[in-house]
């Protein structure tokens, strides 16, 4: 987009790339693109959900027993943390529309802090599992549950939480760019908030996936 130019006018606006007919089109394209990308993310997790569903269907007893082995308190706290971080991300979009760049930055910093909290809690959960041996497949050495399918539960658990954790990290990176821009440049406004909006959409997706993973793993 070498020949991009700034739209005339005193209000700092977004850049219009030369190949788009108008700003509306450009924003529409960006948003549709993001939704398509989120659709691919949903289908990425769909594969894991299918594995989960199949094995839950086959081994309900092992699933119930293993699920009770997880730390429900930590899981609940993590859910609350992630939902709240999603709320602050939504607020960031709200402030961006009003042009309050400082508040956008603050909201994203809160979101990022909660993301870190989420990962720290996850770390302690993992650590405990490595300690007692509720590990995937052949690495499983926990004596407490000797039901067929138990090692599979932890394969699914680790695969899905690890993939989700990876998405938390990616989401954090995305939000960090918006945060820096909000503080440094501060040009988000009612007609220029696509970057904030898309970043926060990604973060909501991370939240959305966890909203499903939480009952699937902790509340069978």
């Amino acid at each position: 987009m070498s020949s991009a130019h700034v739209t005339p006018g005193s209000v700092p606006g977004p850049k219009l790339a030369a190949h788009f007919a108008s700003l509306e089109v450009q924003k529409h394209a960006a948003r549709l693109g993001m939704w398509l990308f989120l659709a691919t993310e949903i289908l990425l997790f769909a594969g894991l959900f299918a594995c989960y569903a199949a094995y839950r269907f086959l081994f309900p007893e092992a699933w119930a027993a293993c699920s009770r082995e997880l730390d429900l308190t930590m899981g609940t706290v993590n859910t609350v943390v992630l939902i709240t971080s999603s709320f602050t991300a939504a607020m960031a979009v709200h402030y961006a529309k009003e042009g309050k760049n400082k508040m956008v930055g603050h909201m994203f910093v809160l979101t990022l802090l909660m993301a870190v909290a989420f990962l720290v809690i996850k770390y302690f959960e993992y650590k405990h599992k490595f300690h007692i041996g509720t590990l995937p497949g052949r690495y499983y050495f926990y004596e407490g549950i000797q039901l067929p399918g138990a090692p599979l539960f932890f394969t699914v658990y680790f695969a899905s939480t690890a993939l989700h954790g990876l998405h938390v990290l990616i989401g954090m990176t995305v939000l960090m760019f918006s945060t820096v821009r909000a503080y440094r440049v501060g040009d988000f406004s009612a007609n220029n908030y696509t970057m904030v909006e898309l970043g926060s959409m990604y973060w909501h997706l991370v939240d959305l996936v966890w909203i499903f993973l939480f009952p699937m793993l902790y509340l069978v």
Binding site: M1, S2, A17, A18, H19, F20, A21, V25, H28, A29, L32, G33, L36, F37, A39, T40, E41, L43, L44, F45, A46, G47, L48, A50, C51, A54, Y55, L58, F59, P136, G137, R138, Y139, Y140, P148, G149, P151, L152, T155, V156, F158, A159, L163
Partner: protein, 558 residues
């Protein structure tokens, strides 16, 4: 309603003179000649051309693997390699041809080049993502090639567990490479969908889009929705192979059939990723060369979307004898029949298009004839193998191999070559030698038949696929197949020679077919921003060859 003036006089294209005669607006080929101007370009046309270079290179690699396979199968015993090498060669043939050639071939080359032109846009919606998709593709290809050079893998391109989880060959880098290529496929798909939604020039409503665009749109939907599932699956198998993650591990209660479900959830729609763009290309070509509006335009457009949708729910017909339930076999069997119906609609409408047309039998049309043949027989044998009980003896035999080569190699390569010849003047502003074009088309169509018809019979006789050695009674047909393959290789060599010659010394051409497709209303090769000056008015309908004086007045119903 009368068609616009630009339709009436194809020669008087706005901006055309300015480009060629005065040189104010260099074509995309000459606008910047440095290496950097190519490698860092965001111009969809240059990206398409770069894709073409790489994709053709991988086609050559895959083709060499194919010839090695055919030579090995000349005799019942070992011929030129040992069993391990053979197992790797057929695996790499599959992986290279599917992930590196067939999936990007038509969408990434011709889709990239033509989609914005056909929609009257300056570029695709996300030009930088478009460039990124090329480099992601190359990165994935690099990983895969590195894995191949380190010994390759012997799982077959289907990577079935538990074999792929335990084989000692180099599985991980190749799988990871395929995973990365998936991203490239997703990026292209996203880009095309958004472009189709937001970048259409004024007047282009959904039902005025050329059928190529419909086909690309349907293809992109599949790419976006199916590719993530195989991405996840490839990661799981890589993890299984490297760290024994255990998702499909039989010893832990895992189910290898679940792997197959997830695998075919992608890989069956992936077949349509390969063949739908071919349908799009052929819709363009049959209209241009018979100078006729498409018979049943809406039926062809809807059937593209229909195939894309129903194609997702037919995956179980790859698993009739895998231990899947009888009930599921029935459900998937019925749904597979629907895909067949959609394809049949297309075939009938293509043939119908010729009715009362004005056929010019040039090279792209010759490929259309071959395509029609391969699609009908490839499609019908597809229906036959999806007819549940018939699949029992045919499954995993050479019958299936011949069937999908008829569709994927026959139909898709016919379309690829047809597109290459049809849009060659558009891309490079030059023409090739028509005589050689027809000769090589005849050679290739003959070669395909000679290669794969014996394979249908081999399948009937019961020869399983992926066999290094085979009982002696299968030899005669195998020799016939190998002979056909060499004919085919010869045909490709001729094409490579005369097209390279045409690229350098070819005669100057602008629109040698007098096509009225919207992409032909700008100069050949097009300028960097596709259209110069006032954009040509979009025709009343796509594929419109009606006499402007009478208009649509005499609408004949059939």
């Amino acid at each position: 309603m009368t068609p616009s003036s630009s339709i009436a006089a194809p020669g008087a294209v706005p901006g055309h003179e300015a480009t060629d005669d005065h040189g104010h607006h260099p074509s995309y080929l000459t606008d910047g000649t440095t290496v950097k101007s190519w490698l860092l370009t965001v111009d969809h046309k240059r990206i398409g051309i770069m894709y073409m270079a790489w994709v053709l290179l991988f086609f050559l690699v895959g083709g060499i693997f194919a010839l090695l396979i055919r030579i090995e199968l000349l005799t019942p015993g070992p011929t030129i390699m040992d069993a391990m090498t053979y197992n790797r060669v057929f695996t790499l043939h599959g992986i290279v041809m599917i992930f590196l050639f067939m999936i990007p071939a038509i969408p990434s080359i011709f889709g990239n080049f033509l989609l914005p032109l056909m929609l009257g846009a300056k570029d695709v919606a996300f030009p930088r993502l478009n460039l990124l998709s090329l480099y992601v593709y190359l990165a994935g290809a690099g990983f895969a090639l590195w894995g191949m050079l380190n010994g390759g893998l012997d799982t077959g391109w289907t990577f079935y567990t538990p074999y792929s989880a335990h084989t000692t060959t180099t599985v991980a880098p190749v799988l990871f490479g395929a995973f990365i290529i998936g991203f490239s496929s997703i990026l292209t798909g996203m880009n095309f969908i958004v472009t189709t939604h937001t970048m259409r020039a004024p007047g282009i409503t959904w039902f005025k889009m050329p059928l190529m665009v419909w086909a690309l749109y349907a293809t992109s939907c599949i790419q976006v929705l199916a590719t993530p599932v195989i991405g996840l699956l490839l990661l799981l198998v890589t993890a299984e192979n490297l760290f024994s993650l255990g998702m499909f591990d039989v010893a832990r209660g895992g189910d290898p059939v679940l792997f197959q479900h997830l695998f075919w959830f992608y890989s069956h729609p992936a077949v349509y990723i390969m063949v739908l763009p071919a349908f799009g290309v052929m819709s363009e070509i049959v209209a241009t060369f018979s100078r006729k509006n498409i018979f049943g335009y809406r039926a062809v457009a809807y059937s593209s979307v229909g195939i894309a949708f129903v194609g997702f729910f037919a995956w179980g017909h790859h698993m009739f004898v895998s231990g899947q339930s009888t009930f599921n076999a029935g459900v998937f069997g019925v749904l597979s029949m629907l895909v067949g119906v959609f394809t049949a609609i297309k075939v009938f409408n293509w043939v119908g298009t010729v009715y009362k047309g004005a056929v010019e039998f040039s090279t792209p049309f010759a490929y259309f004839c071959g395509f029609l043949f391969f699609t009908v027989f490839g499609g019908m044998t597809g229906i036959a193998v999806a007819t549940v009980s018939l699949d029992v003896p045919w499954h995993d035999t050479y019958f299936v191999v011949a069937h999908f080569h008829f569709i994927m190699v026959g139909a898709t390569i016919m379309a690829f070559l047809a597109a290459l010849h049809y849009w060659f003047p558009k891309m490079f502003g030059k023409t090739y030698h028509e005589g050689w074009g027809l000769v090589s088309a005849a050679l290739i169509i003959l070669g395909f038949n000679a290669t794969f018809i014996p394979q249908f019979l081999l399948g009937n006789a019961g020869m399983p696929r992926r066999y290094y050695e085979y009982p002696e009674r299968f030899q005669a047909l195998n020799v016939a197949s190998t002979a056909g393959a060499s004919l085919l290789a010869f045909g490709f060599i001729i094409i490579a020679v005369y097209l390279t010659y045409a690229l350098i010394y070819g005669e100057r051409a602008d629109n040698p077919w007098n096509s009225k497709g919207y992409e032909w209303l700008t100069a050949s090769p097009p300028p960097t921003h596709n259209f110069i000056g006032p954009q040509p008015t979009y025709p009343e309908e796509p594929h419109f060859y009606v006499d402007p004086n009478t208009g649509k007045g005499e609408v004949s119903d059939v």
